[in-house]
C-alpha cells in the first residue's frame, strides 16, 4: 500500500525531474522576485488610485468652475433681458411723449388760429361800423328827400350806387375772412404784396383807430412758395404785437414800417415799430410757447411761437427779432 507522504515526495520528485529545480531551490530563487513584483503592482495600483482621485478632484473643480460660469452667464443674461425690457419701456414712453408733443403742437396751432381769427373778427366789427353808418345814411336820405319833395331819379341812382359799393366792400371782407379761416392744403406760389394787402384789409382798422401809421416799402414783385394764409397769420401776429405795444406804451407818432425785398433768392420782410423795443431780459424768450408779458387772460403766449413754427418748420424760413434805435424789428425770411 502507498502512503500520502510517499505520494508527495513522489510529486516533488517528478517536478524536480521536469523543471530541474528542487523544492528548496524553487523557494530560494523566485520568491523575492515575486515579492518585488507584487510590491510594484501594489505601488502602481496606489498611483493609479491617486491619479484617479486627482482626476475626480479636477473634474469636480472644473465642474464647479463651469457651474459658476454658467450661473454668471445666466445672471448676465437676466441683466441683459432686464435692460432690454427697460429700453422697450423707455421707447414706449418716448413714443408716447412724442405723440403728446405732436398733440400739443396741433392744439397750439389751433389756438393760435383761433386767436388770429378773434383778432380779425374784432377788427371787422370796427371796420364795418363806418360803412354801415354811411349805408344807413344813404338809405335814410332817400326817405327824407321824398318827405321834403327833393326826391329825384338822379338822387336814387346815386344813392343806390353808393349803397351797392358799400355792400360789395362788406361782402369782400367776409370773403377775405373766409379765405383766411380755411387752412392751406398745399404749398402754392403767392405774391407777398397781395397777402400784405389782404392782411391789412382784415386788421388795418384797429391801426387806424389807434392812429398808428403804416408805411410799406416794397421792392419788386416778390413771390414766395408756401402757405399764404399761414404767412398772413404770421404777419397778423407780428402786427398785433406791435399795435399792442404802441397802445400799452402810449407811443406818440406811432409808425409801423414794413419793408419787402428779395435778397439772395429769399424774400425778406421786416416789420419795424417805434414803440421802444423789447427788454433784453425777455428778448430771447418771446418765441417760447406760452410766454407772454400781458396780464392773465389777455395774451395767450402762442402768437409768436406759432409764427416761428409756421415760418421755420412749415416753410423752411427764418423768423428773428432784434432791437433797433426806436423799437423792435421782426425779420421774416423765406
Amino acid at each position: 500500500m502507498k502512503r500520502p507522504s510517499d505520494e508527495r515526495e513522489n510529486w516533488q520528485a517528478q517536478r524536480e525531474k521536469i523543471i530541474g529545480l528542487g523544492e528548496r531551490s524553487l523557494r530560494k530563487t523566485y520568491y523575492p522576485e515575486l515579492q518585488q513584483r507584487l510590491e510594484e503592482l501594489e505601488q502602481a495600483e496606489e498611483a493609479l488610485k491617486k491619479a484617479n482621485e486627482e482626476l475626480e478632484l479636477r473634474v469636480a473643480e472644473r465642474t464647479a468652475q463651469l457651474e459658476k460660469s454658467r450661473a454668471e452667464l445666466k445672471a448676465q443674461n437676466e441683466d441683459l433681458l432686464r435692460t432690454y425690457r427697460e429700453l422697450e419701456e423707455e421707447t414706449k414712453q418716448r413714443i408716447r411723449a412724442m405723440e403728446e408733443l405732436g398733440e400739443k403742437e396741433r392744439l397750439l396751432i389751433q389756438q393760435s388760429r383761433m386767436a388770429a381769427m378773434g383778432e380779425m373778427l374784432g377788427n371787422i366789427a370796427h371796420q364795418w361800423r363806418q360803412p354801415l353808418n354811411v349805408l344807413g345814411m344813404v338809405i335814410q336820405q332817400l326817405q327824407l328827400a321824398y318827405q321834403q319833395g327833393d326826391f329825384s331819379g338822379e338822387l336814387l341812382e346815386k344813392n343806390i350806387g353808393k349803397a351797392m359799393d358799400i355792400i360789395l366792400l362788406l361782402s369782400q371782407t367776409i370773403d377775405d375772412f373766409r379765405d383766411f379761416s380755411s387752412p392751406d392744403k398745399m404749398k402754392s406760389i403767392f405774391s407777398v404784396k397781395e397777402v400784405l394787402a389782404k392782411t391789412f384789409s382784415l386788421i388795418g382798422e384797429s391801426f387806424r383807430e389807434q392812429h398808428i401809421e403804416i408805411r410799406t416799402e416794397i421792392t419788386g414783385e416778390p413771390q414766395i412758395r408756401g402757405y399764404p394764409n399761414e404767412y398772413s397769420q404770421v404777419l397778423i401776429n407780428i402786427f398785433v404785437n406791435a399795435r399792442d405795444a404802441f397802445v400799452e406804451r402810449g407811443t406818440q407818432d406811432a409808425l409801423l414800417t414794413v419793408r419787402v425785398r428779395t435778397k439772395r433768392g429769399r424774400v425778406v420782410v421786416t416789420v419795424a415799430d417805434n414803440a421802444g423795443g423789447i427788454g433784453e431780459d425777455i428778448i430771447d424768450r418771446i418765441f417760447d410757447a406760452y410766454f407772454t408779458t400781458r396780464e392773465l387772460g389777455k395774451g395767450s403766449g402762442v402768437g409768436l411761437f406759432m409764427a416761428k413754427t409756421i415760418i421755420e418748420k412749415n416753410m423752411g424760413g427764418r423768423l428773428t427779432v432784434r432791437n433797433t434805435d426806436g423799437g423792435a424789428e421782426f425779420r421774416i425770411e423765406v
Binding site: 354801415l132 353808418n133 354811411v134 344807413g136 345814411m137 336820405q141 327824407l144
Partner: protein, 138 residues
C-alpha cells in the same frame, strides 16, 4: 349871447367827421332839414378847431375817433375858446370809454352810430331850443 357874432344872425353848425361820405350826407341832410342854419364842415379835430375859430358856430356835431386830433381833444380846445358851445357827439358803441371822457367836457346829446336821422334831428332841435334861436323848421 356873447358869441362875437352879429346878434340875430341864424345859428351855425360845425360838423366834424373823418369819413367823407358820412360828412357829405350829414351836411346835406342837416342843411335840407334846417335850411336857415349855416353848416360848416371839417374832417378831423385839428381842422375842426380852425373852422371853429373862423366861424364860431353855436353847435358842434362831432365824431370821436378821428386821425390827427380826436373829438375829445378838439372839444377841450373849443370849450376853452367859448365855454357855452354845445356838442352833439356821434359815437359807436365801442367808443364808450372815450364817451366817458367827453362827459367831463360836457355834451348836449350823443347819437349812436349807425345814425338814425330822426334822433339826430331831435337832438339838434333841443340844442336850438336851449339856444333860444330856433329857426323855423322846414
Amino acid at each position: 349871447m356873447g358869441t362875437g357874432r352879429d346878434k340875430g344872425a341864424p345859428a351855425s353848425f360845425l360838423i366834424v367827421e373823418d369819413d367823407k361820405d358820412a360828412l357829405e350826407i350829414l351836411c346835406r341832410m342837416i342843411h335840407s332839414k334846417f335850411p336857415g342854419i349855416e353848416v360848416y364842415r371839417a374832417e378831423n379835430g385839428k381842422e375842426g378847431v380852425q373852422a371853429f375859430r373862423e366861424h364860431l358856430p353855436e353847435v358842434v356835431i362831432t365824431d370821436i375817433n378821428m386821425p390827427v386830433m380826436d373829438g375829445i381833444e378838439m372839444a377841450g380846445i373849443i370849450k376853452s375858446i367859448r365855454p357855452e358851445t354845445r356838442f352833439i357827439v356821434l359815437t359807436a358803441y365801442t367808443n364808450r370809454v372815450y364817451l366817458e371822457k367827453f362827459i367831463d367836457i360836457g355834451f348836449s346829446a350823443y347819437i349812436l352810430k349807425p345814425v338814425v336821422f330822426g334822433k339826430l334831428f331831435d337832438a339838434i332841435e333841443n340844442c336850438l331850443a336851449e339856444h333860444g334861436d330856433h329857426p323855423a323848421d322846414s
